[in-house]
């Protein structure tokens, strides 16, 4: 898939390839190629270093973007998958199990978006149903029982706007996850690897440390939906994405994210190994830091971290514009 703003790059790349094919030893063409390559390089830098928020959303949604499987394989020598909510269903949109990251065992979970039509439909494009939240909740309980840290990889457009999800109480299920994450006495590390849509994402990223990939986003609502509601025009999604401050760097600036991992030029899908490697290092580093804290400190710090987030004004004084970061 070629994103709209990538077209100039892709066209240049195609022309260069064509010229290479034609050129042979022709010195003049070699020069032309060289010129074009410089232009390509410049174009790439220009385009990719100045992605608008909405362009980043598109990168975050890129079908070739490294997914749960990819990170899991890189993170863990062994992944011992667990299934089901123990209540009557197993949600393919949420994956989880035990994993060893470095020398540390953790409970690893994340969203599954699927990688072909069938698996995408099966996993509901990464939108969990209540059974997915309850599966996550079960894994949080397991982590508490076995005293293992929780590592979650977030990549979901959000909660499922679906009749069945409402009938089985998705709001109740999300709420239960938040309550569980708030009190679980083990380290919780969340990495937003792609989309971080609304309550569906939050049910996995109420954490001690929130890492975001440069082109991932975290938002209370999809930019398209926001635009359609506030501006009465879905096409104004780019504006909404801009206005809502949903990119990794925005969230870092606002103190909601703790760490932003730069992506390879053009996005993680252009050079997955580098992105994956950065995530692995960030998780290992964070786990190592958090492992020094006892259960009470972890829960207390987590409390304080979220307690601070808000932009209310008291007695004419701004009280808490900043989030949990220092």
């Amino acid at each position: 898939m070629i994103l709209e703003f990538e077209k100039p790059v892709r066209e240049l790349e195609a022309r260069i390839a064509e010229l290479h094919r034609l050129a042979g030893p022709n010195a003049e063409l070699q020069e032309e190629i060289s010129r074009l390559e410089d232009a390509l390089d410049a174009a790439k830098r220009r385009i990719y270093s100045n992605l608008t928020p909405y362009q980043r959303v598109q990168v975050a949604r890129h079908p070739d973007r490294p997914d749960f499987d990819r990170y899991r394989d890189a993170l863990a020598d062994d992944f011992y998958e667990l299934s089901g909510d123990r209540l009557g269903a197993d949600d393919p949109a949420v994956r989880g199990g035990l994993a060893k990251i470095g020398s540390r065992s953790v409970v690893l979970l994340g969203h599954e978006k699927g990688d072909d039509v069938n698996s995408r439909v099966k996993s509901n494009f990464g939108m969990a149903h209540p059974e997915g939240y309850r599966k996550a909740g079960r894994l949080y309980d397991l982590a508490e029982r076995l005293e293992l840290p929780i590592v979650s990889l977030i990549d979901t457009p959000g909660a499922a706007p679906a009749r069945a999800a409402e009938e089985r109480g998705q709001a109740w299920a999300i709420s239960a996850d938040l309550m569980a994450l708030a009190r679980v006495p083990v380290p919780v590390v969340a990495v937003v690897i792609g989309e971080g849509g609304s309550g569906g994402a939050l049910a996995m990223c109420l954490a001690d440390h929130v890492v975001m990939l440069e082109n991932s986003y975290l938002s209370v609502i999809a930019p398209e939906a926001c635009a359609s509601i506030i501006f009465r025009d879905e096409k104004r999604a780019p504006e909404a994405a801009e206005a809502m401050k949903i990119t990794a760097r925005d969230l870092l600036a606002h103190g909601i994210a703790d760490e932003v991992l730069p992506e390879p030029l053009g996005g993680a899908h252009n050079e997955p190994e580098a992105a994956v490697e950065a995530v692995v290092r960030a998780i290992e580093g964070t786990l190592s830091k958090l492992s020094r804290l006892g259960p009470e400190s972890l829960v207390k710090n987590r409390y304080e971290r979220y307690r601070r987030i808000g932009t209310h004004v008291t007695e004419g004084e701004m009280a808490g514009t900043r989030g949990p970061g220092e």
Binding site: A159, A162, R163, W172, L178, M244, Y306, I309, M318, T321
Partner: protein, 301 residues
């Protein structure tokens, strides 16, 4: 279609405080907050007039409606209730002591029109945001009490709602008090972007800590309660009470219909539907709500 309905609603509003107005907005209601109706400050503001009930079509004295806390005397239809009225309904007379008055919303993202929205909501409701909170007594039992107000930007949860809920939970925690929260919310306040989402996390850490104690938490869900409120403090209660006919859920019916093209069944997401689905404990008539809370609190003292 939507726009047509909206402009009808707008002109109706100009014509006076008709219940029809509420109802139009009810129908239009979606999970999104800003689209949700910014309701009138009170049905009974125009004095002594008859109005026609949208529930049963019968005429109601607006004075009587106000005396019945916006419940139709004929068909018991529950219209939204402003937070100050809710407090008057529940708190023992003179017992309510507001906390955190004067806390107002920042505009962290400098979002288009947000300032204006806030100002007009303040003017309309006299409130600082979509919530009133403090401590009170209910049937003699001291409680921490918060009530949301749907008229204020659709009861959307921004930093003020999140902060005042959190402080109410903390007051209950510190004072060993039972906690009662009455919700009415279209969902997140998009104008505050990520800060709005994070109020779910903030209220949840506070509530999760409160729940490690042994004082009870009762959540009362009124029409409508959706989005982030339902998916955080609204449902994580010991007892979840809903008002008759209240629509409760995460995603609103219209969003679901437009996404899935599926026709939803009659009564979808009503309090009765959610009770049938094991998600709500009790459906309590508004005029019996105080009594019901007194009964509950009576078990725990």
């Amino acid at each position: 279609m939507r726009c047509a309905r909206r402009s009808i609603a707008r002109s109706a509003r100009r014509r006076g405080a008709e219940i029809r107005n509420w109802l139009h907005k009810r129908r239009e209601y979606s999970r999104s907050a800003s689209e949700a109706p910014d309701t009138e400050s009170g049905l009974a503001s125009t004095n002594g007039v008859f109005t026609k009930c949208e529930g049963c079509g019968q005429p109601i004295y607006e004075k009587e409606l106000k005396a019945r806390f916006n419940v139709c005397p004929h068909c018991q239809f529950h219209y939204p209730l402003p937070a100050p009225e809710r407090v008057r309904l529940l708190a023992d007379e003179g017992s309510f002591s507001e906390r955190d008055a004067g806390m107002t919303a920042g505009d962290p993202l400098g979002f288009e029109d947000y300032r204006e929205k806030l100002e007009s909501a303040h003017e309309k409701t006299g409130l600082d945001d979509a919530i009133l909170s403090g401590v009170a007594r209910i049937g003699g039992h001291p409680v921490a009490l918060a009530a949301m107000d749907f008229r204020f930007i659709g009861g959307s949860m921004g930093s003020v709602v999140g902060e005042r809920i959190t402080r109410t939970v903390e007051a209950a925690h510190d004072g060993g008090l039972p906690l009662v929260i009455v919700s009415a919310s279209g969902g997140a306040r998009m104008y505050e972007g990520i800060y709005s989402l994070m109020q779910m996390a903030k209220t949840s850490v506070a509530l999760s800590r409160y729940m490690t104690g042994s004082s009870p938490y009762v959540s009362v869900l009124t029409d409508p309660t959706f989005g982030g409120v339902t998916a955080s403090f609204g449902t994580a209660a010991d007892v979840v009470i809903a008002e008759p006919g209240a629509r409760i859920g995460f995603a609103g019916a219209r969003v679901i219909e437009s996404t899935t093209k599926e026709r939803l069944p009659e009564g979808f997401q009503t309090a009765e539907f959610q009770k049938e689905h094991g998600l709500v404990d009790r459906i309590v008539h508004r005029l019996e709500l105080k009594d019901d809370l007194e009964r509950f609190l009576g078990f725990l003292t």
